[in-house]
Each structure stands twice: as structure tokens, then as C-alpha cells.
Symmetry: C2
Subunit: 323 residues, 2 copies
Amino acid sequence: MTALRIGIDLGGSNLRIASLKSDSPALVEQHKEAVGEPRDPETLVGKIAALVERFAASTTEPTPVGIGIAAMLRDRRGTVANSPHLRWRDVPFGQLLAKRLGPRYTLGIYNDVNAIVYGEHAFGAAKGFRDVLGVYVGTGIGGGLIVNGALVEGATNCAAEIGHVKVRWDDDAAPCACGQRGCVEAYVGGSYVAKRIAAELAGGAASSAIELAGGVDRVTPSHVDEAAGQGDPWALGLWEELAPLLAVALGNAIAVLNPERLVLGGGLLGRTPTLYELVVTMLPLVAPVASMEPLSIAEAVLGDDAGIVGAAALAANDVSIIR
Amino acid sequence: MTALRIGIDLGGSNLRIASLKSDSPALVEQHKEAVGEPRDPETLVGKIAALVERFAASTTEPTPVGIGIAAMLRDRRGTVANSPHLRWRDVPFGQLLAKRLGPRYTLGIYNDVNAIVYGEHAFGAAKGFRDVLGVYVGTGIGGGLIVNGALVEGATNCAAEIGHVKVRWDDDAAPCACGQRGCVEAYVGGSYVAKRIAAELAGGAASSAIELAGGVDRVTPSHVDEAAGQGDPWALGLWEELAPLLAVALGNAIAVLNPERLVLGGGLLGRTPTLYELVVTMLPLVAPVASMEPLSIAEAVLGDDAGIVGAAALAANDVSIIR
């Protein structure tokens, strides 16, 4: 008999929960709802605990519960340092929920992208690889590291903050929402790319992306990518400016980590194949030759389920369980 | 009774060997000789094996032997991909030596800076810290990583190649001996700094460093550092150009790793306190705020013994033993 485990993805918009069996990434039972309002810790702790109890009702055995959360954590006990999406700051979320759930559940709280990368390691694009770097370019840029088969959490559970690697440090470096300047996210993160596209097109840049989108206000990074793939000079110019920044951030992390597998994904990079190819082509120019030798690169395959699958697997593997 | 272990430091100039006891970084017995010529693998394997047998003669017990080598390794079996110092390429050093030594010895071969950082972790400036980044700026720039208390070797034993992190990627980026461009080592590595100093002073730059050194041909980075500390404009200008490059390389590695402890050392950085201070002062501007919070910074303390101490400890802890 395969024991039950529970995975939860607590994002800024949606709360998803699923039960899984230990040998599979398939979701046995699942539920999704809007995080909604109010979204204070007490309300969400109550809501999540009730869902967990419902999903675990079929058994009385000890049950691992892993939660991936769109937040910067401060420790390995699920303390949320900061979550702009949830409007939380210094919230002992893990301890509140562990207390509410009681000892039957082994609870772990993880950064959402860490959980996603662990999911790909357990069941997806990085299965069987011992040393893995996963980087997701969506609205922002997040990452996750596996070393010797184990998730790297770092001293305060904020390892793999690859979005805040600096690619410029001159006075004109772009300001980032994190408060610093020159972060790779401030150039290649989806929300910055979208703003940049809108500003340049509103400023009169000519591009076939406008036609592809059916209007200047409707141009997404996907349209720009399609235009770049067709040789549109403005689109290609933008991608050729951004690709080296992401490639350098990745190449430098590869120099430090010497991973076997690089997994790339995310809402932006998953929909911009031309940009993806530019970045991958550039990588051997910036990462050390010896580090590129053992490296293979793959796109993420688990999609939206990766975070739930990974969080459940982390909790089941006893990673940073809150006691 | 404390079991004996043996540590070896195989550099480009010297071969050092020592015996140690398990609970101490003190060298019980030690020997140093020039690597000399010929330095082909067979000659050195014979020389090292004879020394090991001599140092282990007082016991008949199984004995761990760890070797730190100034080389890029290719795997966890001591295969040297490349060692310019020894003029070796694709040498199965670990397997040759393991065969020669026989089963009584548990042999491990490690990158020299990895061994040094592990030594500081076991007995020195990083003792008691679980997640450590060590960076040594000497002739070149090398590093070592400890995650969850274990050395990070990476897929092919070349993790922590922080010297080859790129800090420039434009067409004018400085060429590095590794064959790529824009590596931080090509700016801040000791041999490049020395060349830069010599070229600028030969080109007519005025600096009090010349007086401090007693002649334009005698100026070392230490003299430049002293001059910079006294406000010499040329010296300070040079340091203010180089410090951000090293700070960014460190800060980006910190963003990726979230270490508790940063250990800095090496023949250049150990003798340039003004440069050291500039780098450390700049770090909070380039590393994420959340990653700086748990981080403490310390200078390396074990000096020349660190590599021997670390290599012996790695072998004793069964890290990448060659079987």
C-alpha cells in the first residue's frame, strides 16, 4: 500500500491542494479555490487546515503535508519574511499551521520555486540527476537547487534567489522591486519585459509584433518572440539585449554549482522559444567549458502541478519538517 | 586512541605531506619537498606512495589519505582534466595512486581550494557553520562550497569555480587564461593585478606606491594597498575599479547559495586589507538583503596548512574515496 501525501500551492491568486501517492506525480484528488479576502494568516491557516483534514480523511495514518508558498522565507520553520502577494510580513505561518494541525501531520513549508524544482527532480525533467539547477522565468525569476539529491535551502531558506543576481552595477542599472538595482529580474522578469515592450511600442517602435497581436495594446512577450523568430529587427534587438543577461546569470550559477542538469521553465520562458534558444545558445560562451561538459538542459515538464508534487515530496522526504 | 590520517598538498612548486590526528588541525609529522623534475604522473605517484607509506609506518590500521591538488578535476575518482602547473592533461591520477597504494589506504583527491575551504570548515574560520562559501584570491581565484555540512563537488568535481564567473561580457572584456573572456579572475586574480600594476606604472602613472616599494619595478599589490589606504589617487582608483567586480562575483554567489559564513583568504586578499575592506563594504549593495542577514564574514585562519588539514579530513569523512 502506498502512503498518502498532501501537496499545497499557496499563490497570490489561488490556493490549490491535492493528495498524491508516494510513487507518482499524479494528483489523486484535487481542489482549487481563490485565496480571496480576508487573507490574514489566521483565516488562511483555518482554511488550509480544514482542507488538509478533508483530504486526509480516508486514512488515520501519519500524513506528510508540504506547502509551496510564493514568499520569501526566513528560516526552516515556515516563517514568512515577506510575501507581497499575501501582504504578509514576519508571519510564523509554519508554526501557526503546525499547531492547528497537530502531530498527525508532518508539515513543511517551502519557497514555491524550490518546491517546483524538487518536483521536477522527483518526477519530471530532472529525474535521476543528482545535481540540478532549476530556473523559472515568469512574472519574476526564481530558482531551486538540488545538490547530492537534496534541496539546498541555505542558511535562512532563501537559496537560489537567482532573480536577484546582479547583471549591472553602474549608476544606470535598472531598479528592481526588491529595492536593489541591476537584478537580472529587473531586465528579464516577465513584468519588466511586458512594461518595456509596452513603453517601446507606445513610444513608436515599429514591429510586426503589433500585427501579430492585432493591436499595439495587445502585444505580449509571445508576440515579440514570434516576431523575433521571423527576423523583426526591433523584436530581435530586444531579445538580443536581454538574452545575454539571463545567459550570464545562468552561466555564473553553473560555474559555482557544476550541475548535471539545468531545468528551464516559467510563464515567460515557456512561451518564448526564440528567446529560450538565444539563451541556450549563448550559455557555452559564458559558463566555464569544464562546467558545460557534463551539463544537459531541459524544459520543465510538470507544468502547474510541479509545485504541489514537489512540496508533497519534500514533506514526505522529511525536509525541514516543523516540529 | 585517535586514528591517524594523512593530508597532502600537491602544488605546482611544492609537495607537502603531513600526518594528523582526527580531532586536531595540528600536523603531527610533516615533510616538504620541491615537486621537481621529472613531474610525470608515474614519477609523482611513486614519490607520493613512498611518502605515504613512510608516514603511515607507525600503524597497520586502515588509513585515510587526502590529496589537495592544484588542478581541474574531471570526476570524483581523481582524474585530472588539466593542471598547467604539473603539465598534466587527462591523467587518471587517483586510480594510478590507489592501485599503487593498495586497499589499506582510503584515498581521495580534491581540488586544492576545495580542500582548503573544507579545512577551514572542519577546524578554522568556518567551524560550526553548516553552509559556507570560501573564496581565495591569490595568483588566481578559487572557491569551495559547503552545503548542509558537506563539500559540494558538483557533477564533475569542479563546483565553486568562482574565478571564472563573468563580470563583463562585452567585446572588450579581458581575456582569461581559461580561454574565455570577462572572468573575475582576469581582473582581480593576483597575476592579472600584478601585470596591470606593472603596466600602468611603466606607462607613467604617478603613485606613492613606488616610493613605498623603493622603486617602480618593485611595486606589489601590497604596496598599492598601502598607498590606497593612505589616499593615493591612482592606487585608490585601481582598487575602486576592481573591488566592485569581486564584490559582484561574491554577492551573486551569495544570492544563489544563501550561506551562513563567507571565508575570504588567499595570497592577494590576505595582504591587501584596504581592498578587502572595500569589497566587504560593497557586498550589501550587491547581495540580496535577505541573504546578507544571516551572513557573517571572516578571514581564513589556517594559513598554509588548510589544504593538508582539509584533504585529510575529507578522506577521513569518506568523501569521494577511490575504490
